[in-house]
């Protein structure tokens, strides 16, 4: 673990990313303390510019505090990102593992099923799913999970395919272990590093997807989210730029941080590659 952290620290960008991410998480956790009350409450005059009337980041068209919206929105954005990624991982890892380990017909069936999802433009599918199931946090998470599992399945399948023929897996077969315990106990731990890296990027994509859905008005109407903030500021952007810009910066920083963390994890989990990159630079 200490070794892992030492290698992670070598990538300066990754450390910056981690700090930003921790700050965003802290903001989300402290939102009720920093901004007590609902972010929907009208607390100032409409269109108050940043810095006036105690509004740090200004107020929106109904006099709601943008800063409060961002802080409370952080909880929803991170929650949606984490939960939908977890769901997509569960599905993708299971299917990919089965396809890669069993091979043959099972592999063909799973991969055709995966390709079926990959051929549909994912954002359109997500919109469709949310529209069908009526916008709510549950349906948004479901839609994002459904459109983001196929890459996981492909990565996991490729890892399982190559690990399956390794001698330690064959040794486990010869010991008489069950298929499930070989998949979970022997192969999966060795396939974890690409999954970890991929999932940090998936959280970022999920946050973007959720923002895009909210921007289009397909978010949960009862929850304050970053996408909703940008969407509501869209029509008055020349009058009150702060309504769209600050939530936009929040999304930008969070996604950037997640990408940096992903790259850092990738370096730390593949020390050989990282060293080559370091040597070339």
């Amino acid at each position: 673990m200490r070794e892992f952290w030492r290698r992670y620290k070598r990538n300066k960008g990754a450390v910056v990313g981690l700090v930003i991410l921790l700050l965003v998480i802290l903001l989300a956790l402290l939102a009720p303390v920093l901004f007590p009350g609902s972010p929907w409450d009208m607390v100032a005059a409409p269109f108050v510019p940043p810095g006036e009337m105690g509004m740090l980041l200004g107020a929106d068209s109904l006099g709601r505090d943008v800063a409060a919206g961002i802080a409370h929105g952080a909880r929803i954005s991170l929650l949606v990102g984490a939960v939908s990624t977890a769901a997509a991982l569960l599905l993708g890892v299971t299917l990919g593992a089965l396809a890669g380990y069993l091979g043959g017909l099972a592999d063909d069936a799973v991969m055709r099923f995966t390709e079926f999802f990959q051929t549909i433009p994912s954002f359109v599918l997500a919109i469709l799913l949310v529209a069908i199931f009526t916008p709510s946090i549950g349906s948004v998470v479901f839609a994002i999970a459904v459109v983001s599992w196929p890459p996981v399945a492909r990565v996991v399948r490729a890892e399982f395919l190559s690990l399956r023929s390794r001698e330690f897996v064959q040794a486990a077969e010869v010991l008489g272990k069950s298929r499930l315990s070989i998949m979970v106990g022997d192969i999966l731990p060795n396939a974890l590093s690409p999954i970890v890296v991929l999932s940090s990027l998936m959280v970022a994509t999920a946050i973007l997807l959720e923002s895009a859905l909210s921007f289009l008005g397909l978010g949960d109407p009862n929850l304050m989210t970053w996408g909703y903030l940008i969407g509501s500021g869209r029509s008055v952007i020349r009058l009150a730029w702060w309504m769209s810009v600050f939530p936009g910066i929040a999304i930008f920083l969070t996604v950037l941080a997640l990408n940096l963390v992903g790259e850092g994890l990738s370096d730390a989990l593949n020390p050989r590659l990282a060293r080559q990159r370091g040597g070339a630079a």
Binding site: E167, F168, L175, R179, N190
Partner: protein
């Protein structure tokens, strides 16, 4: 005057390594028309020495001291341009891996011509290329020159590499383990070729190898390296027959040698443990919708029996199907026909769950000690895994793992460490312990020592012999090394292209081979004219 003189060469290792210098105070000479063999185990610095002479040391390994004089010039003082003019023209090198040393997209003839062209001799390439390819005994040089490397076998590629190295008639040829990746019969052809070219042209050869058989086959002089130092140097006869330094003596004592003392007379009347009959496995590569299906018969009608307590060796070259045969027996590969009877019960048609009870009885040791242990699992867990799977309580299984580590001569403290903390030989011991944890009756060893250095190999073979005797194991021993087979096996089966061509007691197969292929294999054992001196009292 000597062709090449290396004096007091010291090359530093990057700080933090296990020793400060990759090679230290190396002095050696190569005369024209002489073959100097540098022998040593992996990590002894023999390749570093060769690369230093060629000026091919990687950036992290600076030369700290010493001189390399070639035809009177100090090579270390030359700039990169001058060195490049020498390289290829006066000094040439052959590498270990013929499969990756040729450009896959370029025709063979063009690659040889390129070697001529970069040194300004491209003009008569059209005439010289077929000549060179003929000189390395390649059949039909014109056709070979037009082919791409993937059409050639490993041995043919290595010949092309030699042709390229010889294109400009260098006076010094450096060969870095040129035959290690090749089969034994091909190895012999390449060794003869090197010897022939060297005597025809008077080239000096610096030949790097880890195999004392190869040394006995071609060397005029020998330098033995250990931990970056030359520990013994002298004429081949002197070093091979009267080794002085303890390390050389240990290495030579570890060379597996034909006649073994421990061939137990197999109780032929005993009931067979394993009887394999008419076993067949064909690999099919599907050609998709339009391509043709390719069928490779890996094992054809294999028949053999193993009686209790005996060791059957399966020998053959790569691609002969010996590993597939072993994998069929443990159901890692599903054969399409034939029977595999274990104590009279045919295992082939059994389902995965019906096979499970037999997993305890039949265990396997794998070839690559670096790939056969799960890198994310502690050693103790790895060994205890089998018994736990078969219902032994965890505490008892771990206790057994501790005992087994002692049995394979490892410290029980190894239980809580991960595989990467162990050397190749230690890992192979862990692999053996894992196989023994289920107290099997039949042990299948798939090339268990071929990835190991010769002294480690001897230790692992001794361990296997000891365990076999103590536990009364029956063993199916797969190997490509006939010397190893001769040492450990009671009976031997020789495989060629999926067919068992000869089978019999080790003594009989080795002293009176009936099949021409067996004969050819035996003739190809490097150094068969050399009997290692008996050094048992020193070992």
């Amino acid at each position: 005057m000597s062709l090449l003189t290396v004096e007091g060469l010291t090359v530093a290792l990057p700080p933090g390594g296990d020793r400060p210098h990759a090679v230290e105070d190396i002095s050696l000479t190569v005369d024209p028309g002489e073959i100097l063999c540098i022998v040593g185990e992996s990590g002894s610095g023999k390749s570093i020495t060769a690369n230093a002479v060629m000026g091919l040391l990687p950036g992290g390994l600076p030369v700290r001291a010493g001189h390399i004089r070639f035809e009177g010039q100090d090579l270390l003082a030359l700039g990169p341009d001058a060195m490049r003019r020498l390289r290829g023209a006066r000094l040439a090198m052959i590498f270990q891996e013929p499969m990756t040393a040729l450009n896959p997209l370029m025709r063979v003839g063009d690659q040889v011509a390129e070697a001529l062209r970069v040194h300004g001799a491209g003009g008569d390439a059209a005439r010289r290329v077929p000549e060179l390819l003929a000189a390395v005994n390649l059949p039909d040089p014109a056709a070979i020159a037009r082919s791409h490397p993937f059409r050639l076998s490993g041995g043919q590629r290595q010949r092309v590499m030699i042709a390229m190295a010889l294109a400009l008639e260098p006076t010094l040829l450096i060969a870095d383990e040129p035959t290690t990746a090749l089969d034994v019969t091909t190895q012999m052809q390449i060794l003869r070729l090197v010897r022939e070219i060297q005597s025809r042209r008077g080239t000096g050869v610096m030949f790097i190898t880890h195999d004392f058989g190869v040394v006995a086959e071609i060397a005029d002089c020998v330098a033995v390296m250990q931990h970056g130092r030359i520990v013994e140097q002298g004429s081949a006869r002197a070093v091979l027959d009267r080794p002085q330094h303890p390390y050389t003596r240990a290495l030579i004592a570890a060379v597996p040698h034909g006649a073994s003392g421990l061939v137990a007379p197999a109780p032929s009347a005993a009931e067979p443990v394993l009887r394999v009959a008419g076993l067949r496995k064909t690999y099919r590569r599907g050609g998709g919708w339009f391509g043709q299906r390719v069928e490779v018969p890996a094992v054809q009608d294999a028949d053999f029996t193993l009686v209790h307590g005996e060791t059957l060796g399966v020998v053959g070259e790569s691609g002969s199907g010996k590993s597939t045969l072993a994998r069929c027996v443990v159901k890692l590969v599903e054969p399409e026909s034939g029977s595999i009877s274990f104590h009279g019960k045919d295992l082939r048609p059994l389902s995965r769950s019906a096979w499970k009870p037999y997993r305890q009885k039949i265990q396997m040791i794998f070839q690559d000690p670096f790939a056969s242990l799960n890198p994310r699992r502690k050693v103790g867990e790895t060994i205890a895994e089998g018994p736990i799977t078969h219902g032994l309580p965890r505490a008892a299984a771990l206790e057994r793992a501790r005992d087994l580590l002692r049995l394979v001569q490892l410290d029980p403290g190894a239980m809580d460490r991960y595989p990467h903390e162990f050397s190749g030989g230690q890992r192979q011991r862990i692999g053996i312990a894992r196989a023994l944890a289920l107290e099997p009756e039949l042990l299948i060893a798939d090339e268990p020592v071929s990835a190991l250095d010769v002294s480690v190999q001897a230790q692992v073979l001794a361990l296997l012999a000891d365990i076999r005797g103590r536990l009364g194991l029956t063993m199916l021993f797969i190997t490509h090394d006939l010397r190893v087979a001769a040492q450990v096996c009671d009976r031997v089966a020789v495989m060629q292209r999926g067919v068992i061509v000869e089978q019999g007691s080790t003594m009989q197969v080795f002293s009176a081979p009936r099949h021409p292929y067996t004969q050819q294999l035996l003739d190809s054992i490097p150094g068969r004219g050399w009997t290692p001196p008996d050094l048992t009292e020193a070992a």
